[in-house]
Symmetry: none
Subunit: 383 residues, 2 copies
DNA sequence: TCTGAAACGTTCAAACTCGAACAAATGAGA
DNA sequence: TCTCATTTGTTCGAGTTTGAACGTTTCAGA
């Protein structure tokens, strides 16, 4: 039977139906899968996944290829069963990355598009307004889309201009994980976004409940999520009557990897002098790096430093496994498509919708238990 | 929640119904169950649970898999799983009034409940937290509701206590036209509300576009909508670089009808001295009264004073007909039911949703055209 | 064209689950 | 009190799922 060590399933066996659901999620997220990767990820044999792929291919849900499967292809003549009727509408989807975070949004979107009988065309872009616009224009020019789902970069003058342009497009636009600032005309734009300030607040309250009384925040302000995380952290401190000016907030934007170790040393020193025993760290990759740094310096996690990450993309891979705030990425994609489908069906009669989704806190080893008060000598020695 | 015929019609043991409810609770909590675990947990044979699973699968509530059951899966082809056909939930709905504004919310809710095959029980209450709680408790005690839609009064200590109580109820709660403040624990509450600050902003921008350069605001702070309207008015003034401290904001809370005429005179005098040629008036009833007062005093509407109301309940009845911001009341009710239906179907897997709906500006006679600059003598004569 | 690595398909076994058949217990109604 | 229907439990043969082993096929690179 299956391996008990696989991180993805947390040691739990999935039923075959759930395994095929996961397989479809991965396929929608990435467009193609290999039998080997999925078997490793789900902790089962390649033969089992191969059987699953065959079953799904027989149902017309995937196109089987050597070594794996792809989303159903019009070139695939092996299936005769389950071909959907012609799509009612086409929607374009432009995301800033096809890695880290966005594949699950795409997977949710593709799954819902299937349910709603919509054709969806996904394009990867960058955290760059000019490139976003180029990709959108390409979809408009070549694909005849009826609606657009986009996660635009909104920084700087280019970003603001992009929003005005999106607001003026002749087709409906839904933003995923973005909210237009008040000062930009955006009355036609709909959006669905994770409430990151709520997520940060949840992490702070969790750490407070575990006994921490000084809780810091380490962010990366190159990320559009960062301001929301900081706002939630501040609001939660205020609600708990923790003085903000005594609390650590550091940012690692624009640091090279070499500088980052020094910066982490600096953060640990600030923690020591301020009595901070817990940190909310955005994003997950930085949390993993910070945990590793702590361990390298002999700072016990969570005994001397409790850590909560953000995004829950790789937090589980660390040793110890890191607690994390997990945005409902799949739902973001799904709800974006639902908004679009309703807009296309109902037109102007329907009021503009703007939706916040709450994340979930996944508690793992890195934040369990009350702080073990460190003696100064332990931290001195580790620095 | 009963998926079978009620016990009083005989033939079904109450225990078997309760067992299936427990089974469904476990399923919604975990996404999947094994026959073995549930049989052990409930102290019955695996065959009994297997029979239950078969029954629930036949009703479309679960997907049966080898060894157990999962939540209904799109990959499950054995039954039409999209909509559980016989199953119906009851939801309670408590609104502060059965007049003015709320009938359309109720209508939207009832329509959608019909579409979703839900039983909906509506109770009128008051703008009073204690009465709200009494009505909710009555529904819980006597009607066996599975979910609650409510527009609670959140003012004062009673209001905050009501929110905490609603957050802790064992059934899902959706708020209509309400948002919990940050400081109250409300992580389970979902809501759909009109974005009144956006609405107020829209009205200000409309008046600006008609040529008005000083735009005041007249509110009634006994209404929960009022703070949002004021915030939107302020934000829009800021965006248009209209100085806030030179702009008129008056409130008519706590005035008797007799005092209101004097207050309106006072407002008109402030307009005259400040050069204000347009007013956003919340709510509609106050806008109608203000327009009538202006006409009585010889102040030409919209020539000397342009007016936009709020709520669009009676604005069209006035002479001249009054422009108004119209919240999408029917959609508020409809979306509240959609949130509840999805919550009941999906359980904890679904993230908490919070939805803003944008209102619409209905332009009528009362705000058309540029201001005709009034001579002082005309206004002197009218006072 | 040839070769080696990777992937695939078949067969068989192990482990687990299913459900038919039958029996026992319980409750409702005559 | 009796009868019938319903619910629940036990037994055991049949069915399902998964993985190991091994032979076959496919693909990429020399």
């Amino acid at each position: 039977m299956s391996s008990e060590q696989t991180p993805e399933t947390g040691g739990k066996s999935l039923f075959s139906l759930q395994r095929r659901e996961r397989l479809m999620e991965e396929l929608r997220a990435h467009g193609a899968i290999t039998v080997r990767d999925i078997a490793a990820k789900l902790g089962v044999s390649e033969l089992t996944i191969r059987r699953d792929v065959n079953t799904l291919a027989d149902e017309g849900l995937v196109s089987r290829v050597h070594g794996g499967a792809t989303l159903p292809s019009p070139l695939d003549r092996s299936v005769a069963v389950g071909r959907p009727s012609p799509h009612s509408y086409s929607i374009g989807m432009v995301v800033p990355s096809l890695d880290y975070y966005w594949p699950q949004v795409i997977s949710g979107a593709r799954g819902e598009a299937e349910v709603q009988n919509l054709r969806i065309l996904v394009r990867g872009s960058a955290y760059d307004a000019a490139d976003n616009r180029r990709q959108v224009q390409a979809l408009l020019d070549t694909q005849n889309i009826d609606g657009l789902i986009v996660a635009p970069d909104m920084g700087g003058a280019h970003g603001k201009e992009l929003l005005r342009w999106l607001n003026a497009l002749p087709i409906p636009v839904v933003m995923a994980e973005r909210r237009a600032p008040l000062e930009i005309p955006s009355h036609r734009l709909e959006w669905v976004a994770t409430d990151h300030s709520f997520g940060a607040g949840m992490a702070v309250r969790h750490l407070w409940q575990e006994g921490h009384r000084m809780i810091g925040c380490l962010t990366d302000s190159t990320s559009p999520t960062s301001p929301h995380v900081v706002r939630g952290w501040k609001q939660a401190l205020a609600a708990l009557k923790i003085p903000l000016d005594a609390s650590i907030h550091e940012d690692s934007a624009k640091l090279d990897n070499g500088d980052r170790a020094k910066h982490f040393d600096h953060v640990l020193e600030l923690c020591r002098t301020s009595g901070t025993t817990a940190m909310l760290v955005h994003s997950d990759t930085q949390a993993v790096a910070f945990v590793q740094h702590c361990v390298d310096k002999g700072v016990d996690v969570p005994g001397s430093m409790a850590i909560v990450g953000y995004d829950d993309e790789v937090a589980y891979l660390a040793e110890p496994a890191i607690s994390a705030v997990r945005p409902p990425k799949s739902y973001v994609g799904k709800v974006a498509v639902q908004l679009m489908a309703a807009r296309l069906a109902e037109g102007r009669m329907r009021p503009v919708h703007r939706i916040d989704l709450n994340p979930e806190l996944i508690v793992r080893d890195s934040s369990l238990g009350a702080p073990v008060l460190p003696t100064d000598s332990v931290l001195e020695e580790s620095l």
